[in-house]
Symmetry: C2
Subunit: 634 residues, 2 copies
Amino acid sequence: MHTSIATVCLSGTLEEKLQAAASAGFDGVEIFTQDLVVSPTSPDQIRRRAQDAGLSLDLYQPFRNGVELEAHAFQDSLRRLNRTGELMNQLGTDTLLVCSNVASSAVADDALVAEQLHQLGEVAQEHGIRLAYEALAWGTHVNTHDHAHQLVMDADHPAVGTCLDSFHILSRGSDPADIAEMDPQKLFFVQLADAPLMHLDVLSWSRHHRVFPGEGDFDLVNLMSHLVRSGYSGPVSLEIFNDSFRQADVHRTAVDGLRSLRWLEDQTRRTLAGEMHDGAVRDRVELQALPEASAPSDWDFVELRTTSLGHTTRLLHRLGFRLGGHHRSKDVQVWLQGPVRVVVSEAGHSTRREPHVDPRARSEHQAVAEVSGLGFHVEDPAAAFARAVELGSTPVPREQLPGEVTLHGVYAPDGTEIFFGTGCADGLPEWLSEFGVEEDPLGAGDLITGIDHVNVAQKWQHYDEDVLFYTSALGLTSTPAQEVPGPSGLVRSQVMCSPDQTIQLPLNLAPTAAEQGSFVGVAYPEHIALASTDVREVARRAHRRGLKFLGIPENYYQDLITRFDLDAQTVDELRELNLLYDRDDHGDFLHFYTRTLGDVFMEVVERRGYTGFGAEDAPVRLAAQYRLQQSHQG
Amino acid sequence: MHTSIATVCLSGTLEEKLQAAASAGFDGVEIFTQDLVVSPTSPDQIRRRAQDAGLSLDLYQPFRNGVELEAHAFQDSLRRLNRTGELMNQLGTDTLLVCSNVASSAVADDALVAEQLHQLGEVAQEHGIRLAYEALAWGTHVNTHDHAHQLVMDADHPAVGTCLDSFHILSRGSDPADIAEMDPQKLFFVQLADAPLMHLDVLSWSRHHRVFPGEGDFDLVNLMSHLVRSGYSGPVSLEIFNDSFRQADVHRTAVDGLRSLRWLEDQTRRTLAGEMHDGAVRDRVELQALPEASAPSDWDFVELRTTSLGHTTRLLHRLGFRLGGHHRSKDVQVWLQGPVRVVVSEAGHSTRREPHVDPRARSEHQAVAEVSGLGFHVEDPAAAFARAVELGSTPVPREQLPGEVTLHGVYAPDGTEIFFGTGCADGLPEWLSEFGVEEDPLGAGDLITGIDHVNVAQKWQHYDEDVLFYTSALGLTSTPAQEVPGPSGLVRSQVMCSPDQTIQLPLNLAPTAAEQGSFVGVAYPEHIALASTDVREVARRAHRRGLKFLGIPENYYQDLITRFDLDAQTVDELRELNLLYDRDDHGDFLHFYTRTLGDVFMEVVERRGYTGFGAEDAPVRLAAQYRLQQSHQG
C-alpha cells in the first residue's frame, strides 16, 4: 500500500513537514497550496527536496470552485488550471484535487458539470496532469461520492477521475459498499480521515475534529475493504484537520499517522483473509501484514522511577510489600506482595515528565516519583515487540549482561516504557532470579491480590495518539470517555482494557496546562490501584505502619449517608480507616488513597461486584490533593 | 438587583470561591453539593464564613431525580430530602433546587408529579426551607419552563415554586414572554447563563459552553425584561459550566461574572425605560443604572512600552514618524505623523505579557516591545471611566503633577491600559502640550492618514471576558470570529468595532501555549496597522530609510497571478516593495508588514474600498514570522 499524508496534517514549515513525513517512513505526500504559497522554497526546489528524501509528491490540492460554473467564471477556471498545471510540472506532481463547488452560485446541471469536467480534462491533458474530482460533504449540489463518481464517468475523459475521502463519505452516513464495484482506473486518489461521532455541523466537524484512522468512530476497515475489492492500488493518503495536530510536534504527528495506516492495512488484510485465499484480491493489491500479537494476559510488573528511594520504599512497606531483592547489575530493587511486583529504580537522570529538570534541584514535596514502566505478560514477547516497532515505536535501550533475560521494551507515545514478557508455569517470571528471588515469594500476610488498574496521565495534544498506540500495539480496546470535575478543571478519563479486563489502564487527560507549570504534578498525579479482598485490613495495617492517607472530609461521609442510606456503624468504620465508598448496579466498592509522592500515588480497592473506577469519589481526591499542593506552596 | 453566582462557575476550593465572589462584589452565592462534599469545612463554618464575607447563601443545589418517581423510589427521595433539609439548616440556606428527572425510569404523570411536589413541599416546610423546581432541557418528561411552572402551580404548596434557568429555556428555543405573566410569588429563583449558538447536543452544550450574559448569543435582555415585568425581585444568579472558567483564575472569573450582571441590569433598565416612566415596573423591582457612556469617536493615541528605545524609534522614523517631544515629568516620548500619535515609554519594570521576567535579561531578539496602552476620544471621559470602574475594571495608577491633564485609565482584562480623553476643536489634544508640542504638528511629508486597526493578543481562558469588557465598558460591538492557519496552530480573530468603524480592534486568540513558552511571542505578535492613501510611497520611503520588511516569498506572488489574474507590471511593483495584495467584492487592498520587535510589529495598509483585514495574507505573515523565530533560535 502506497502511504501518503497531506502536508496540512502537520505543523511547521513545508520543509519541516517533508522531513517529518520522510523520516516517519511515508512513501509520499500531498502538497497543500497554502503550504507552498507561504514558503520561500521554489516549486522546483521542493521537487528536488522530496526526491532526495525519497518522497513522491502524490497530489496537489485544492483546486476550489473550478467546476459547476456559469460560462464567464468557467473561463477564469480554465485560466487558473493552466497556471496550476505549469506549477505542477515544476513540482513534478501529476494529480490535482478538484473539489465540488461550495458557492451559492454553483450551477446544478449534471450535463453541464460533466461537460466542464471534460473541458478541464483537456487542459489537464495538455499539461500531462490528471484531475481527481471530490465531493465535499458540504458541496452545494455535489456532496456525495456516488454523485461525483457518476459525473466523472459522464465526463468520460482519461485525465478525469474520482477522489474518495472517507470523511466526506462517512460523515454523511453514506454506505461505501458501492466502491467495490467502481472501475479502479477511474479512482485517481484516496484520502483517509477518521473522526469521533459528533452532533456538530459537518464543516466544523471536518475542520477541527478529524483524526487518524483508528482514533475515531468511523468504520474505515470496511471502507478500505471495499476499496481493495475494487482493485484500487494508488496512494492511500491521510488528510486530517485537527486543532491538536496543528500544535503538536511535527515528527510525532507523522509517526502517529503512519502507525494508523499500518494498523488499518493490517486490519483490512485480516478482514479480507477469506477472499484473499482464492487469489482474486491478492493479485491486484498488496497489503502488508504486521506481526501477529495477542493482547496482554496479565501484569508482569510496574516500575516506579524515583529520586526519593526512602519515601518510595516506606510507602510500599506500609502497604504490605516486602523487599524481594536487588538486581545483580543495576540500581534497581523489586518489591513483592501476592502476585504484584513493583520494580523501583533510582532516577539519576531526567524523567519522562520534565526531561529538562535536574531531579536533584527539587525539594522534598517535589520529589520525582513516577510510573516509568509497565510490564505485561504476552504469548510471544518477540512478536509483540516487533509489531510495536513496525508501528513506529522506539525501542527502550537497556543494558543486558550475559545470562540476563532479554528485555523487549518500547516507549509508548506518552513516554511510558512498555515491556513484553512471558509468565511461567509456576507463576514466577524468569527475570526475578536476577534480583536474587529464587522461590515463590508468596507471604502469609499478603493482602494484595493483584493490580486493579494503573492510571497514566496524558497531554491533550497526544491523547488520540496514545489511544491508538494502546489499541494497535497492545491490542487493548478503549471505553467511552468520562469527565471528572476538579478544582483546576475537568479531567477526562478513558479506560483501555484487555479483552478479559485483566489489564485496565485509564488514560487521564489533565486540563490544559496553560496556567500550570507541569502537565502532571501534585494536582493531577498518576496512580497504581492495587486490588484486595480485604481493604479494611490493608488500611488497618497501613495505619499501624504509619502510612499518610489522603484526608477525606466529614462532609463526604455525611453525603454518603444521604446518598446511600448507610448505617452509622458502617460509616464510622469508613471514617476511621479513611475509606471511600461507591455503589453501582453490580455491587459495592471500598477504597483508599495514599498521599502523593512526586507524580504518583497508590490506591487500594476492594470490588464487591462493582465495575466502575470510583468516578464519584475522584472529585474528593482531586480537591484533597489540591489543598495539599496549596499548603506546600503556601 | 440581588446578584448571585453558583460556586460551580469558579475554580479552586469552596473557601477560595466564597472569597472571590465576595471581593468581586456579589451579594450571594449558590452552593453546589459537590463543592461542599469535597471540602473539609463544616456546613456551620461555611455559614459563618459567608456571613463574615457579607454573602448570602441563596441556594443549595442540585436535588437530583427526586420527583417523577415510582412509589418506592419516592420514599427514598423523602428520606434524602429530610437529610438535605437538616444540612441546609446548618448552612443557613433556605432554597433547594429540585431538577426535573432525567432517568429513563422517570414517570410521565403530571397529576402524580404535582402530588409528589406537594409531599416534598410538606417535608421542606417542616425544615423551614423552600423547593425551586427546574426543568432541565434534557429532562425525560419535564423539559420546558412552562411545563415545570404548571406542575408547581398544580402542586399548590407554599414551599414549592419555580426555578427559571435561561440556558434551559433559550437553548430549546422557547419564548420567555410568558414569564411576564407568572406570579412572582411562585418564582423562587432565577439562574442566568448565556451561550454561543451551536449545533451540538444540548447536554454537551450546557456542560462545556455556557458563558456569562453578554458573552454568547442568547437574548438575555429580553428574558430579564419579562422577568422584571413579572415583578420578580429575588436573586439573579449566574450558573455557568465552562471549560475555560474552570481553569481560569477564580478572582478574575468572579469579576467577569459581576460585570456581566451589571451590564445586563443596565441594558434591561434601558429596554424598560418607557414602561418605567409610568411607575408600574419601577415600583416593584429596582434596577441599578451604569453611567452613560458612548462608544469612542476616534483614536487618541497608541502607547508602546519598550526596553529597546533605539529599535523602537528607528522603526517609527522609517515609517515616516517625527519625534513630537519628550514629556515634562515622565520618561515618555511622543511620535507624530498625520493624526496618529504614538507614545513610547521605556519599560524599566515588568510588562503585561511576562510580568515575572526581568526585561534586562533579554537578548536583542527578545527585546520587550508591546502595545501597552490605547487612548480613545470619548464624549465624557469621566463618565466612561466611572462606567468601566463600576463594571469591575481596575484604574491605572499614574502620577500626575499639578497643571497636567487628568488621565482617565483602566486596565482591560488582557492587561492593556485603556485611556479616555477628549478631542479638541483644532484636533490637538491638550495632553500634547506636556510633551512640548505647541502647534499643529501636521508635516508636509505625512503619508499616514490614521490608525486602521490595532490587533491585541488574548489568552484563551479570558477570551470571552475580554470581548465582554470591550462591549460593555467601551461600547464596541463584536463581529463573527474568523480562523487563520499558522505553522503552530489556528489563530482565531474577532474584530471589535465602534458603530462608525473608526475604531477597529481585532482580538487574536493564539493557539494554546501548552508547548510554547509565552502566549504571545515572536510567532503571534500584536500589531498596529496604519492607514495610508499611498502605501507604495510609504514603502519606498521606508526602503530608503533602511526598514527591515517582512520577507514575502515568490510563491505568494505567483499565486496572486493565478488567483487574481494580475498583470506582470503590477506584480513586479508589489514584489519590489514587499507589498501584499488582496481583493474582496468592495475593492482592493495593498499592505506591508515590518519585522517584529519584541511582541509587536507594524503594518501599513491602503484600502481601496476593501473591507476585510487581509486574512488570506495572514498565513504568509505567520509563516514568515515563524521562520524568523526559528532562525533566531537556531
